[in-house]
Subunit: 342 residues, 4 copies
């Protein structure tokens, strides 16, 4: 048998661990593997490389990003190319495609499958917002990087009696902010799921100072929003895909707090370092388990499904389940985090 | 209300995160917290400290070990002291006890509860072998330390064309070896659940060399055992508790491989570094969630239970469920790891 | 004897290691130690704490920042308080003051010494720009943080075929950019000592792409400046001390490159994480050696000098030597870095 | 011009950084580079690979070990092969050889040079014992690994009121023990340069306990020796090169302390993890600077010398200076460390 794989969407730690896992599992079971370059684009343009189970592949387990490259193809362009995609797969003798990616990629994979391509999906997102799975790989690594940064900010905030704001990834969901905030011992956490009242934020911080504490750490998801009617956000720029740019929320909040409290406030935007670098052991294990399960599913012809972690077990779920809706931070998680703030 | 807490058994990263979480949650809800020193011993001897929700407590989130100290009290000594324990708790005005520990500690906690002490348990083990919970805190940190060591050993093994054996914790279960081995890209993994045949180990390694690879990494749980009739283990020393000492399995295997293959083999025992140091973000989050749930259970009088992670949710389970039997590596996990070896 | 110490100026990893080293060395030699809070301000306002050689002090070796707090006092305010400072020191029975800080602090220390206060200086700067010493502590830690970030950016830049710009600390000198750039394998490095020509930067990057490379990493010191006549920098804001704010140079360069090359360019500002967190082993050793030498100098009455690393030896140099002029990146270092760019 | 390079002796972090630096510098200056495999052996057997300045070479900057492999050739075998070596170099058109290695390698390099081969040496040793240079690369990484381990052991020692012994590399010199001990806040440090009296070690530790401390950390270089007449070391095994094996000194000391003090003592041997893995930023910069200087020396025909760090400058020194004698820990360093023990 001959398996193809590709990585699409934003990169994250663990993509290479999946690629390695697919190659080793498939090779061990007598199949061969090719990789398409730069996501769906490479599939459409038929740019592919043979992947061998050698020391080179073995070593990518530790490497962030994806050796296959990634890309973002417009859905319409993609759908217009369905015939070419099928031709390319047929010409290359591909029996199964393992598509590794986030929400958008999995929707594309589902559409391909609905149009007759034998696909297995592997969910990937830094943001941990895929519905069907307890965790996506990349998330733990992003939280680890953000937590390490928060640990560092504690000591400098404390030395200077400052409030430090750290803006982490999460446009639509607050998972990274929640976990990094809990792990980093943040004194406030602001997430998209719960619009914040700047007056409340200031009150919590003021109470800390009244209790004799000298500094504070606030973790802000980039998609955090003020409650209606509290203060007016500066208008956000819109990027080429029509998404608002969220580069500024930390700085905006810093400004608002400085206006209200007599304290020095600094803001740090973590940015791209959250998605790069060697994956944590947790993410390497998860990515590898996904790879083994997806490959075995592909080899036995169990298509149209997505691997997912449920408790201690990796399962196969339907595309519907996986991409139906974003997994947001549930109320019970938010409430237990609130016990620790202030 | 007045809550007491203590940590018992071997230390592991995240104990302090639980203590901090208990103090912050309880204080925020109007309760006070005392800590007993050195595990059950401190409870028996009435050595306790008041724990305040200040910057000092806040900072222990990052610190390995336990600020309360830990200890191992013989069950018989413990049981003989039940009246004194009850008196001590009554004198100190304690309404609830949160006991943090492993198998042994939880059994003690259950016995206390059966004898009328209001207890909530928090499971703790490096080894991840508590039955009722998907993960115990400390495990992820131990795996991270072991994986980091394996990453380092790859480069030196490769430079010298050697086989490197790394012995990790796990006397009765192979969780650390399994996860660190998968995360570290080990070429063989030996765990207590599956006695190994030294000839098979050598065959797998020999095949690697035949394929042109130049080196190999083998991860061995300290409790790994050869299959009956394969080779004779040197007799193991027995410690004061009647446990066999497992200091040597890596070196024994190294010796056996050197006898069978014409290759340089070295063994490294990771030892205590696996249980020390700053917990990973994952463990800090898990320990903190346990703390919040255990404290809330204690405050509402929900005694006789143990917090446990099930999928994405922290639940309360019975002592029976938690301490009934060790959680071993299940077959489906072992089989998917096997796909990646060699 | 009775020694006082204080930390002043921006915080950096290793300050606590010096404080610990002073306390342990002095206590071991029979002296006592007090710490003034928040830099010169605490000295003027007579806010001090007794420092004991206990486990608490021992543990700060690992902690970033400074347990004494720091501050920035205006030189004029400071000089106006000389009588009060002398009174405070006399009242507290202080025989010697160990002042830990950067350029500004050491100038203050020198002025105090010239006015009759027995002072020993310990140089501290993230930026490594103190003239008399090969290295200042904090620098190695800052470079380590920046290098770790660059390592992460490589993998994401490579996956997306992007140019990544990372802005590091260094308003007046390029040491952090130079070392992190070399350690991180940057393809271009821009430092204040050598104004850059944006056309040259683009040419080097374009040549990379022509050679088949897919991405590039550029490390920019925050004080990097374009060559006169190349392009006009947006006007910089000026802070309360009359310093230009340098928040934007990475973004400005990203914009300029995107205008000139047909490529995706992203910019990341590392910010305060470079000055926080556990110091590297190198910085802990250096800070501790400084502490031992400064304390011994203070105890034998060798005042008016600054500890400095020269090759393998810690020496005492005059204040003049230490604060005369900034230590910039010398030409031979710059030239050898250039061999590696592109 | 055509440059050859090879790595010989024990591997250490930074070897690949030198190889990369040589390739990039030489290629940038119009030369080509070949690498001989497995140290001198590859030179004798004419096993060589062409090294290109591509992304693959660029990436090894982060990788521990050496992509060229290393080996240990007996001096007599090596010297017998001088004609073959010269022939091999002449046949391959090599104009200069950059030999990267420790004491033994540099002696070989010097002998080659004396016999007419154009050689430049690059010193390499984990142990930091090369006489002519302030630091060798690999040392900072080894110290970082050991310090990280000591940090972890503090928390577990403290939780269990134990003495923890950690045995680090250093058969003949105590540099790693000294630096890791200082950085890790060890309470005792034992190095080969100063034979220890076990009674003194116990007294220092006993005094700690009398002062109310609960635990202790002792760092032991593997070559540490008891003072004559204090206690008898178990006889050491001798390896194939006639070197004594030093696997046991930590365990021996643990046993002796347990015999004398009523306390729990555990010993950990760090082993090979000290020489593997990603080099620290410090080592990457140092290795890269060595590479640039050695390559430029080779290209301008400045043979028969070794690169060395002196203060802030990389210089060329004679082979005599570099290999004359081991650089031991000098007395002033030892004395300043003693101030911090106990």
């Amino acid at each position: 048998m001959r398996i193809a794989t590709l990585t699409s969407g934003g990169d994250c730690p663990g993509l290479n661990a999946v690629i390695r896992g697919v190659v080793r599992t498939a090779t061990g079971l007598g199949a061969t593997v090719v990789g398409y370059e730069d996501g769906w684009t490479g599939l459409v343009e038929d740019r592919r490389v043979q992947l061998y189970d050698d020391e080179e592949i073995d070593r990518i387990l530790l490497r962030g990003g994806t050796i296959l490259g990634t890309g973002r193809l417009k859905t319409s362009d993609f759908e217009a190319s369905i015939d070419r995609v099928k031709e390319n797969l047929a010409d290359a003798g591909i029996d199964a495609l393992i598509a590794i990616g986030g929400e958008g990629t999995l929707k594309g994979a589902r559409w391909l499958h609905d149009n007759g391509v034998p696909v297995v999906g592997v969910p990937k997102t830094i943001d941990n917002d895929v519905n069907a799975t307890d965790y996506t790989f990349g998330f733990d690594s992003a939280v680890a990087v953000a937590t390490d940064a928060i640990d560092r900010l504690h000591t400098t905030a404390e030395s200077h009696n400052r409030v430090m704001i750290v803006q982490v990834m999460g446009r639509h969901v607050g998972w990274i902010a929640l976990h990094a905030g809990m792990a980093g011992g943040a004194h406030d956490i602001l997430i998209p799921e719960h619009p914040f009242d700047i007056e409340d934020v200031c009150k919590r911080m003021a109470r800390r100072f009244q209790m004799g504490e000298k500094y504070g750490i606030i973790v802000v998801a980039e998609g955090a929003m003020p409650k209606e009617g509290t203060f007016v956000m500066p208008e956000r720029e819109v990027d080429q895909f029509g998404h608002q740019k969220f580069d500024d929320i930390g700085a905006v909040i810093a400004h608002e707090i400085e206006n209200r409290l007599d304290t020095d406030v600094r803001s740090t935007v973590l940015g791209h370092i959250q998605r790069g670098g060697t994956p944590t052991a947790f993410d390497r294990v998860l990515a590898t388990r996904y790879a083994v399960h997806a490959t075995k599913a592909a080899l036995r012809g169990d298509f149209g499904r997505v691997v997912a972690l449920r408790g201690e077990t990796v399962k196969l779920v339907s595309f519907e389940e996986a991409v139906g809706q974003l997994k947001v931070v549930p109320d019970h998680r938010w409430e237990s985090a609130l016990s620790l703030l202030g």
